[in-house]
Amino acid sequence: MKKQPFLRTLGLLVMTCILVSLNYSCNTGGNTSSGVLGDDVASQVYVAPGEYDEFYGFMSGGFSGQISVYGIPSGRLLKVIPVFSQDAEKGYGYNEETKPMLNTSYGFIPWDDAHHPELSQTNGDTDGRWIFINGNNTPRVARIDLSTFETAEIIEIPNSGGNHSSPFTTENTEYVVAGTRFGVPYPQADVAINSYAENFKGMLSFISVDQTSGEMDVAFQVLLPAFDYDLAHSGKGKSHGWTFFTTYNTEEKSTLLEVNASQNDKDFIAAVNWKKAEEYLAAGNYKEVPANYAHNVYDEETHMATSTMKKTVKVLTPEDCPGLVYFLPTPKSPHGVDVDDTGEYIIGNGKLSADLSVHSFTKMQEAIANQSYETTIAGVPVLKFEDVLAGVVEKAGLGPLHTEFDGKGNAYTSFFITSEVVKWKVGTWEVLDRAPTYYSVGHIMIPGGDSKNPEGKYLVALNKITKDRYLPTGPEMNHSAQLYDISGDKMKLLLDFPTVGEPHYAQGISADRVVPNVKKFYPIEENKHPYRAMGEKDTRVERDGNTVHIYMTTIRSHFAPDNIEGIKVGDKVYLHVTNLEQDWDVPHGVAIQGAENAELLIMPGQTETMLWEPKSVGVYPFYCTDFCSALHQEMQGYIRVSPANSNLPLTWGLNDEQNQS
């Protein structure tokens, strides 16, 4: 009898152990997926030192305003490309050459919200020439040259507010598009906000792209009701010639949109026939209206950007252009609109519904031919939902946002509310697989996943919420991406990696479509910068009133000149520095004590300019900021600043060679 309590205790202990171990194993299984216990996940993302990744991944920076470039599948960060935001690291938007890139009709805007990167395409395939991205806040579209991975051009979009449904290229990069997310008065005017439905409009812009230079031009705009044009994708294959835009706020409300813009059971997908638009343009069926928007181009030979203001834009109105736009009713405040790789299916990701509505391009054409309209809004025929619907992916999850394709007849949709990616079959609309994301996935990306020929090997989920996925870094932490292997029937989680800013959309491309075109440095003989110095013999200092131009060079491991005297307080000193190096990855940097600026970071063969306005008398050191060589620490110099009324002549020199103006 005495032994019983002891036995009971022992029994309890054993029970507890079993429960604890069960609980523990449950946790492990839930958190890290079955991959850990199954096959070797690590080797699938392991790219050995010195080896290259198979794909480039271009992630938008969201509120960072930039694009970050990752290697896929390793998740290694390769570069951050400054686009819409000043970048002190590279001097972008700080040096005189790139300041004009950020010019707008509102003046110099050093930041934007960069949303959707989109690779250029040829015949519906990503071609590795350029990547475009939209600035949402001050409506802009940028073009990045993939031979240099630098921003080559930025064009502002007139008559727009919140450039969200952008840039989403056509099949041969004939156009990238820009649709306004926020209705704005057209033309801008001092009107009552509650006159929204009456005075506000929504504009869709088509930006033509020159096939050789890449140069962009707002070819035309389509004037529509002030719905919120949320996202877009252009047709391909049989639907080439059309671009589709989702809408919400078809209620046309201006306050408490979370309720008031969520009332209609169905909003629309606006289908724009841009080939028809070209006919109307050729026929002169447009209005050329006054506008004011910046067009900024970076010239790779002068290493300088120029900003010009454009003064008119061509506007097409559906009333005057029958057949230009149709509305496809789509439940319910659809977010992404994605066209499958065959070009037949147009997927409306009904954000506030559990279903995905898939429209058929063929059925849409039939409905248009039969003129089977439900009604007409502002000259735009509204097709009947049942007429154009191909199928519904039912109750796949909550909050569908975006869909990508794998080229094998499958589609993958992100569900924000239920934090998962769902794989479903195009045509039968059956759900095949689902994988959890950590946490709250927004966009997803499959390399080429919105092109005609997706490379369906990996899927990247771009998650909005990170919480406990990494070592904590205080209240603010990087967003998180997750890489899935989608080569098999079931999706397999391979890797977590943190991302810069807030990646909205991303694009991926086989490295071999990009690598052969990538430049290693700028040939010095092609340098046409007006203030270049083509060698140390060319270096000098020139005064023109209060403005001083210093023509300086860098080469391992000195500046020429490195001692300069005769600068005065109140001068505007332009330091034009040419990097004479002609070898891969030998940039030099320049920083001057007290310059209200960022450093210059000058690539081989390039010239960059820093404006320095010395405020007080003294001798100020400057130095190279990029560890260039064994004698990098010695790469330094001095500039002497004398009082404003000083008569000290300008002198400059390097070692024994001293010069005087």
């Binding site: 190096e581 002609q582 070898d583 060589s629 064994a630 010695e634």
Partner: protein
């Protein structure tokens, strides 16, 4: 014989010699090309890159304008081509032999001259050089491989150089065959 002498013309199309430098941070090496009338490299910037490397140890910059051989050696080669063509037309064994011997002498003088320049660059170092390695020799190898501080230097004939050898071989073959046909 004619072909043998014309082989020398390839010197105006291809470099005759190359010196390559290998180090971890130069995964593809730095390859300098020596032509009959110029010094270049795989890229337009190669010579500058080599001079940048050399300046750490105080080696004087390689300036093709300062090397007179690059100016006049091409005329010697052209003269040799003319003599070779002449010998071919003359079509006498002793003419062939004379041309072969002359080519050998010019080749030997050329290689000796190359050695002298290498010696000059490798030993005439600026005493104010930032880096000094008193016990090390910076003279590149005449032919073959050598370790020079952190670099492995490799000196080998290039296409033009091989064509000189081919030219000589063809001339010797012509001389030999002619002898054989006679007997």
């Amino acid at each position: 014989m004619l072909l043998g002498s014309l082989c020398l013309l390839t010197l105006f199309v291809f470099p005759m010699w190359k010196i390559q430098l290998f180090a971890p941070q130069y995964p593809n090496g730095v390859t300098m090309h020596i032509w009959i009338n110029k010094i270049g490299g795989e890229t337009p910037g190669t010579l500058q890159n080599i001079n940048i490397l050399n300046h750490y140890i105080g080696m004087k910059p390689i300036e093709p304008e300062a090397i007179p051989e690059l100016k006049y050696f091409q005329y010697i080669i052209l003269a040799m081509v003319a003599l070779g063509v002449g010998a071919a037309i003359w079509n006498k064994r002793k003419g062939f032999l004379a041309w072969i011997i002359l080519l050998a002498i010019i080749g030997a003088v050329g290689i000796y001259d190359f050695y002298l320049w290498e010696y000059d660059y490798g030993h005439n170092l600026d005493p104010n050089a930032p880096m000094k390695f008193p016990d090390d020799s910076f003279q590149p190898p005449l032919i073959g491989k050598k370790n020079i501080i952190n670099f492995v230097a490799l000196s080998l004939p290039h296409i033009g150089g091989y064509f000189i050898m081919l030219g000589a071989a063809l001339a010797i073959a012509a001389w030999w065959l002619k002898g054989k046909l006679k007997s």
